[in-house]
Each structure stands twice: as structure tokens, then as C-alpha cells.
Symmetry: C2
Subunit: 298 residues, 2 copies
């Protein structure tokens, strides 16, 4: 299945990096952008992120071989509604949303069924800066992209999406939407919410004065993800609510256990916990690096 024209809807950090990478590596013939702010699309063209942009959604949708939805989760439903009348059945539809069940539900609800040409996806990459200015054609190199096809999904559509991501240097895995949402709630959504919570907590405690001035690199790294885009994270929190609440509560319960250990001065048990975390983390960094190195990038 040859993809010539790609339409990217939502040309921010992720959509822009996808577009820029496709162009840079000449993986398709043309990368067109669509969004609701023409001045940002113009900027994207100037930055070499897009070949051109469309301001008329029906034209843009009708012409595309593959459409990448890279808008916040909260914007998916209304966008799909608008696109629906103009989408050709052979056009491959994919997305980059951070939660997959809610996107699949939105597609099903708008189209009345799950089109075989729809391939839900999620690149595990990002930075705390957002917007097309931060777009980077190498953002996905040696990063995982997770596809969550369903039984309705056409194998050729999966293959086409997979090839584009691999062309961008990514390591593509497949899993069920529910497993994706659970794993990402634990490994990404939970730490983001924990970091937001810490910065908010310290920011509000004015009795202590500006405590941020006494922080060092550890704090800066720990809270880097608290500089992420608030709209995106609001939408993730709402759209992956169940799994996130579960993991926030798991975390809270585990924290209660740690509070008890500190209160009771249980040095030995604290040492064991800290040491286990250190070992798991050190191992994880080594392992993960190796796994991505071994990944089939062809």
C-alpha cells in the first residue's frame, strides 16, 4: 500500500515532528498540514515542517492517502465529526493520542463502526516544550511507537502505518488498547500527575518562602514533566480516567506504607525499599537501552 499524500491535522510538537521527519527522510511525496490557526501552519511551512497547508478541511481530507490526527484527545470527537463526510474509505486514518480506548470509542461513535482503515497509535516520545517550533524530525528515533489495532483493523493499513514510523527510526510494538492505557497510566500519566502535584504543593506553601531557590538538578529533573502542556494533560486525565485513578490510588496506598516506615524509623525496611528501587531503575535503564538497540528498525 503506497502512501503518497499525508495529511497531518494538528501541527504541534508531535504532529510537526512526524511531518518534518517524513519530509526530511523523503518517505512520502507530500506532507500537508491542517489546523485551526493558519499563522501556525504558515510558520510550519517556513520551518520546513510541511510542504503546504490547507485551510479547507473537506479538500484536505478528500485528497489524503493517510491522515495523522495529532490533536489533543479532547478535540478528537468533533474533528472526526467534521471529517466524516469527506473521508474516502481507502484513506488510512491514524492518530498519536496518549490514551487509546477513548480515541477508539470516539471513532466508533462517530462512524457507527470501527473502519478497517483506522489504526490507533501512540508514539512514546515528547518533550516539555510544545508547539511547531519544538518539532524535531528525529524525535522518534529509537523511541517506541505503540499501535493498538482491533480485530476490525486491516492488516495492510497496520503495515502502512508501521512502515512510516519505522522510516522515522521508531521501534513499533502492538498491544491491546486496554493494556496500552493501563501501562501508560502507570509509566507516564502517573508520574506526570505526581510532578504537577509536587510543584503545585510547593508553589502554594508561601509560609516557607520561595523554596524553589534551594533546589538542584535532582528537583529540576524530577519536575521537568511538570512543564508539559496543560491542555494535553487535562485531556489525558479525563480520557484515561479509570486507569489513572487506579494508579493514583495504588501510588497513594504505597505512599501511606512509606509514611508509616519513616514514622516508625524502620531504617532496615526503608533501606530495602530504596535499594530495590535503585536496582530496578539501574537495571531498567540498561535493559531498555539494549532492547531499543536490538529493535527491528527495518
Amino acid at each position: 500500500m503506497k502512501v503518497n499524500k499525508v495529511l497531518v491535522i494538528g501541527v504541534g510538537l508531535i504532529g510537526g515532528s512526524f511531518a518534518k521527519g517524513l519530509r526530511k527522510r523523503q518517505l512520502v511525496e507530500e506532507v500537508v498540514g491542517f489546523g485551526f490557526h493558519p499563522e501556525k501552519l504558515q510558520k510550519a511551512v517556513e520551518l520546513g515542517v510541511l510542504d503546504r497547508y490547507e485551510t479547507h478541511l473537506p479538500t484536505a481530507v478528500a485528497e489524503a492517502d493517510l491522515i495523522m490526527l495529532a490533536v489533543p484527545l479532547g478535540a478528537m470527537s468533533s474533528l472526526l465529526e467534521e471529517m466524516n463526510p469527506y473521508l474516502r474509505p481507502e484513506t488510512i486514518l491514524t492518530d498519536a493520542g496518549s490514551a487509546k480506548c477513548s480515541v477508539i470509542e470516539a471513532v466508533k461513535s462517530v462512524f457507527g463502526h470501527l473502519p478497517s482503515s483506522f489504526v490507533a497509535g501512540h508514539p512514546i516520545a515528547g518533550k516539555e516544550s510544545s508547539g511547531v517550533e519544538a518539532a524535531d524530525g528525529n524525535l522518534f528515533v529509537k523511541h517506541r511507537v505503540i499501535l493498538t489495532p482491533t480485530e476490525e483493523t486491516d492488516a495492510k493499513a497496520i503495515q502502512a502505518v508501521k512502515q512510516l514510523w519505522q522510516g522515522l527510526g521508531a521501534c513499533v510494538s502492538e498491544m491491546s488498547p486496554a493494556y496500552h492505557d493501563e501501562v501508560l497510566a502507570a509509566t507516564s500519566h502517573l508520574p506526570h500527575l505526581l510532578a504537577f502535584n509536587l510543584v503545585d504543593l510547593l508553589n502554594e506553601h508561601e509560609a516557607l518562602g520561595n523554596v524553589f531557590q534551594y533546589t538542584a538538578g535532582g528537583f529540576r529533573d524530577f519536575t521537568r514533566i511538570a512543564s508539559s502542556d496543560a491542555t494535553m494533560w487535562r485531556d489525558i486525565a479525563v480520557n484515561n480516567r479509570e486507569a489513572i485513578v487506579k494508579w493514583l490510588k495504588n501510588y497513594r496506598d504505597s505512599l501511606d506504607g512509606m509514611i508509616e516506615l519513616v514514622e516508625d524509623k524502620r531504617g532496615d525496611q526503608l533501606f530495602e525499599l530504596f535499594q530495590a528501587a535503585k536496582e530496578a531503575r539501574d537495571l531498567h535503564i540498561v535493559q531498555r537501552g539494549k532492547e531499543l538497540q536490538d529493535c527491528d528498525f527495518e
Copy 2:
């Protein structure tokens, strides 16, 4: 007050970086090391961290103009007991412990009073690697060092310790021991315990499989501090127990509020929280950089 001979007890990351920096910048005549593992001290000499080392504590202590205690908090009391008979009253005693009230209590309890030559201190710098191999003479450049003198402390001793840290490129502040312990509980001890807790939580959930493989840079940064030394952190947890428990509970209560917002899909309030955190964090990074730039390093 001229400091010629410096004795560093505990030649790990912090003690080693202090020693190496003093030598590199020729701030004193001789830097001697003491510790309970001669092979590590030998290694430190080979690495250029120390001029030489002593294996006999009484000699080492009696000869020093200034002694830096860079051992884990849990080792302070017994070390002070051992040193006490040999310490000359004019020898300046300082430390690098991450909690200050407990060190001051230990000194008071061992000596029966707070010697005027004792200057409690804490460099706000570190990395997740530990040991003398990780020692770096520039570790403290543009980093804060907090001194927490009491009313007993001699102004000249404070000045001598301050000058050494400034000579290493650090920005030196003074505050009360209790305020230090409260601020550091919030900005350093709390995030470390949160990171340990997250890694332990995910490490134990084997039902999900190895979730670490689906993490990216955000997770890596968030959990970097969970690779810190377990002994050091056990000692901090036990020795700054009260302030840490208070902040862990503050955090837990604040997290309960966030859980409620996600459960109730309060998108607007979540957006406000995330946005406030992002703004505080972005501002803090800019502000802090500026403050350390403006700091008097002379």
C-alpha cells in the same frame, strides 16, 4: 584564619568532590583523607582526589586545621565519639550532611555542648552515582551551599568554611537548622522518596509485565533520583523524620485532592492545577538560574 591542612572524613562523592576541588584550585596546602576502607583511600590518591590518607584517626584529627565530615548521617555520632579526645579546640569542624538538626544534636550530645568551632553545612549538589570514582572538583560550581550556624558558632569559623566553599565556586547562604530541614524535606527529601516509591510500585506489579520497557525520557528523568545511594537516603529519612513525615502527608493530602478531580472529570480545575505548576516550574528555572548567576562568588 588560614586553613592549611584539611582532613576529609568519608571520601565518597561529596567528600571526594570537596577534596578534589580544594586540590585543583590550590585553596589549601594539603588535603588528607580518612575512612574505614584503605583501598578506597588509595584509589582516591590515585585519582588525584587526595594528597595522602591516614589510617590512624587520632593522628589525622590532631593534625588538621579543618575537618570535613562527609559520612552518612547515621555514622556521625560514633565518628564524633571517636574523634572527640583528639580534636584541638581551634580546629574547625564542618560537615556536609543533608539534615542539620540531627547533626547538631549529635555534636552537642558527644561534646556536651556546641563547640564554637563547629559549622554545620550542606552543599545542595549531588548526582545519582556515588563513590570516589564519581568525585568531581567542579561539582559545587554555581550550586548552593547552606550553612546553619547557631549562636554558639564563632564568626571566624563560619568565614573560613564559607571561603572554602566559595573558592570551590559555590553560592553560600545561611539559615537556621530547623528552616533548612523543613525546606530540604520539601524540595529534596520528598521528591526522592516519591521517586523511590514510584519505581518500587511499578517494579512489584508483575501482572503488567515489564512496564519499564515502555517508558521514555520523562520517566527516566523523573526517576533519576531513585538511583541514589540507599544508605544515604535511609539515614536522611530517619534523621529528618519529622519534617519528612509532615511533607509526605502534605503531599498525600494534596494527591487525594487530585484523585478526586480526576474521578469527577473536573477538567477545568485540572487544567488550572497543571497550568499553575507549569508556570511555577518554568519561572523557577529561569529565576533560579538568575539568582545563582547574581550570587557573590568572591
